[in-house]
């Protein structure tokens, strides 16, 4: 497995000349999980998409993004396309909108696997089926033959995870994968992310503003605000001794919410998930 090193990443809007991400640098060690937290508009998603080189053409991007020593920003579009999916997997926020609404989800899965592997249709179905069962999707064949609107957001999120399981990428980039889900599905999906990493040994970049989820999954945390990384470090350290005022604000807001919750529930201490 390879590390991912982002150096001096800058993203600006050509039209307005505004800087959206200023000089970000960070390293994702092989097999580790880095969480990016921060409010909406802080540049988390832009950073994710910049890694896959999927930001719209109107955004100017500079800096280097090295995957196992290869600078992705120097690759041709054709070479980049081979890396997307196979070595860098993106998991998007809203499962309900991630799949072509007029085809059954199996079409996307097969087209993707067809791009990267020379497998027969039967082999693709078998491998996909196995991966889907491991993320607790019952009856994979029926799921593959369903249209996106016939499945729930949580199921579609887990289909993306199952696809990542089959693709076995170096790095999974998850852009707020739990935000659009209800609490129960959120819990299931987070557990599947944890076991995805354990199973294929990939690294992970996990964007979220749910600190509970981040605490469960991340080894390292980057706190972003207004396009800047204001604080970074190991998860435990960020939670126990936050240095930046904004990080303290995030954590205290979370704790205040917990206290309120405990108070309403009439208990003293509810273990922080």
């Amino acid at each position: 497995m390879n590390s991912l090193e982002v150096s001096n990443l800058k993203i600006g809007d050509d039209a307005t000349g505004r800087a959206l991400v200023r000089n970000s640098s960070f390293l994702v060690e092989p097999g580790s999980c880095t969480a990016i937290v921060g409010e909406s508009g802080s540049g988390k998603s832009l950073t994710c998409r910049a890694i896959l080189r999927l930001n719209p053409a109107g955004l100017r991007q500079s800096g280097s993004i090295a995957l196992g020593g290869v600078d992705l920003t120097k690759l041709s579009e054709r070479e980049m396309r081979k890396i997307r999916g196979r070595r860098l997997c993106l998991i998007v926020q809203n499962g309900m909108r991630a799949f072509d609404p007029s085809s059954v989800v199996g079409v996307h899965l097969r087209e993707t696997l067809n791009r990267h592997f020379g497998w027969s249709r039967a082999e693709m179905t078998a491998r996909m089926g196995k991966a889907m069962e491991s993320v607790r999707l019952k009856d994979p064949v029926a799921v593959m033959n369903s249209f996106p609107h016939q499945l729930s957001g949580g199921m579609l999120q887990r289909i993306m995870i199952a696809l990542a399981l089959v693709l076995e990428p170096d790095i999974v980039v998850a852009d707020e994968p739990t935000t659009a889900l209800d609490t129960v599905s959120q819990y299931e999906v987070v557990e599947q992310f944890a076991s995805l990493r354990a199973r294929i040994g990939c690294s992970m970049i996990f964007v979220s503003h749910d600190l509970g989820v981040v605490r469960r999954l991340a080894d390292e945390i980057l706190v972003m605000r207004d396009g800047e990384i204001v604080e970074s470090g190991p998860t435990r350290k960020i939670f126990s001794e936050p240095r930046h005022a904004y990080t303290r604000h995030l954590i205290s807001a979370k704790e205040a919410l917990n206290r309120r919750f405990n108070h309403v529930m009439g208990g003293d201490d509810v273990v922080d998930r």
Binding site: R49, L52, L54, R81, K82, I83, R84, G85, R86, L88, C89, L90, V92, Q93, N94, R97, A98, F99, D100, P101, S102, S103, H108, E111, T112, R115, H116, F147, H149, M160, L163
Partner: protein, 310 residues
């Protein structure tokens, strides 16, 4: 899907019944007495009250209204629309061939409109904001705002008179289709390609395109997906374009002396040939209902979400 088709077809029946009733009622609201029209067109020199009463009985006008309607409806279903007052031959023998000619013109035009709109819509969406997009939209604006008779006159002057490439009128060979089809297609394609363009642009911003790209799929696959989803909007519009063109070929048909519904309807209105007008209205209305149903079914075939409606 099969169940959807049956349900959709059943809805069309009461609609058709209402339309036929309206067509029948409207004719009877006319102040003109059909008997008089018949006698006039037969060139009877002196029309007496007796003669009118006799002709009314001959036409079956003396029976109760509802009976006449039902009688008329049953014969209509057998394509028997009565006799033309003027030409003194069955309406269907006039209407049938005219309908066929107009249908040919319409279908060729719709095929041209579809091809033009999809090609231009896709090209403009993929190059949105660039000079290709801007120039196509600018040109289409000029062409669609030009009145069709003016456009037709210009094209006849240039292609038929000056270059002597195409016939000016009639329906003799495949070449006769070129000018009328071009005039119709330019007007409609200029509007429809914008629908496809904006629908494609909306779809290109959808998450499924981003996720598809992130999975390493090539642009051609993604454009195919986007086009398929964009056509859903277009299908219902194209479905309604067929009957709309059927009913609006009047100008083009009269300009190019096309022996179709447009020419026939104008002639019948001017000579107050009621049975022909009535049948014309009925056939066009039925075409609207029919193509509406067909486009709904086609939409449901592309967009599975719609199948649960109704």
């Amino acid at each position: 899907m099969g169940a959807y088709i049956v349900r959709r077809a059943l809805i069309a029946i009461p609609l058709l019944a209402m339309i036929s009733f309206a067509a029948f009622v409207f004719q009877h609201l006319s102040p003109l007495d059909p008997a008089e029209v018949v006698l006039h067109s037969q060139g009877v020199p002196k029309i007496t009250d007796e003669l009118i009463a006799e002709t009314r009985a001959e036409l079956g006008m003396d029976r109760p209204f509802l009976i006449r309607y039902l009688d008329w409806l049953v014969s209509c279903l057998q394509l028997d629309f009565g006799k033309s007052y003027v030409a003194n031959q069955p309406v269907w023998s006039l209407l049938g061939p005219a309908l066929l000619n107009t249908l040919k013109l319409t279908l060729v035009s719709v095929a041209a409109i579809l091809a033009l709109s999809v090609a231009l819509g896709v090209a403009c969406a993929l190059k949105a904001g660039r000079w290709l997009d801007k120039s196509i939209r600018g040109l289409s604006f000029v062409l669609t705002s030009a009145p069709s008779y003016w456009l037709a006159a210009l094209m006849v002057w240039y292609f038929s008179v000056k270059l002597d490439l195409l016939p000016t009128s009639g329906m003799d060979s495949a070449r006769s289709y070129v000018l009328p089809v071009a005039v119709i297609a330019i007007g409609y394609a200029g509007i429809y390609f914008r629908v496809i363009r904006s629908s494609m642009l909306g779809n290109l911003n959808e998450d499924y395109v981003l996720y598809g790209r992130a999975c390493g799929l090539p642009e051609s696959t993604l454009v195919r997906r986007v086009l398929k989803n964009s056509l859903q909007v277009a299908i219902s519009i194209f479905g309604m374009a067929i009957p709309t063109i059927l009913g609006s070929t009047v100008v083009v048909e009269n300009l190019f002396a096309w022996p179709g519904l447009g020419t026939l309807s104008v002639r019948s209105v001017l000579s107050r040939d009621f049975p022909v007008i009535q049948a014309y209205v009925l056939v066009l209305a039925a075409a609207f209902v029919l193509f509406n149903a067909v486009s709904d079914i086609a939409s449901a075939a592309v967009n599975p979400k719609l199948r649960n409606d109704l």
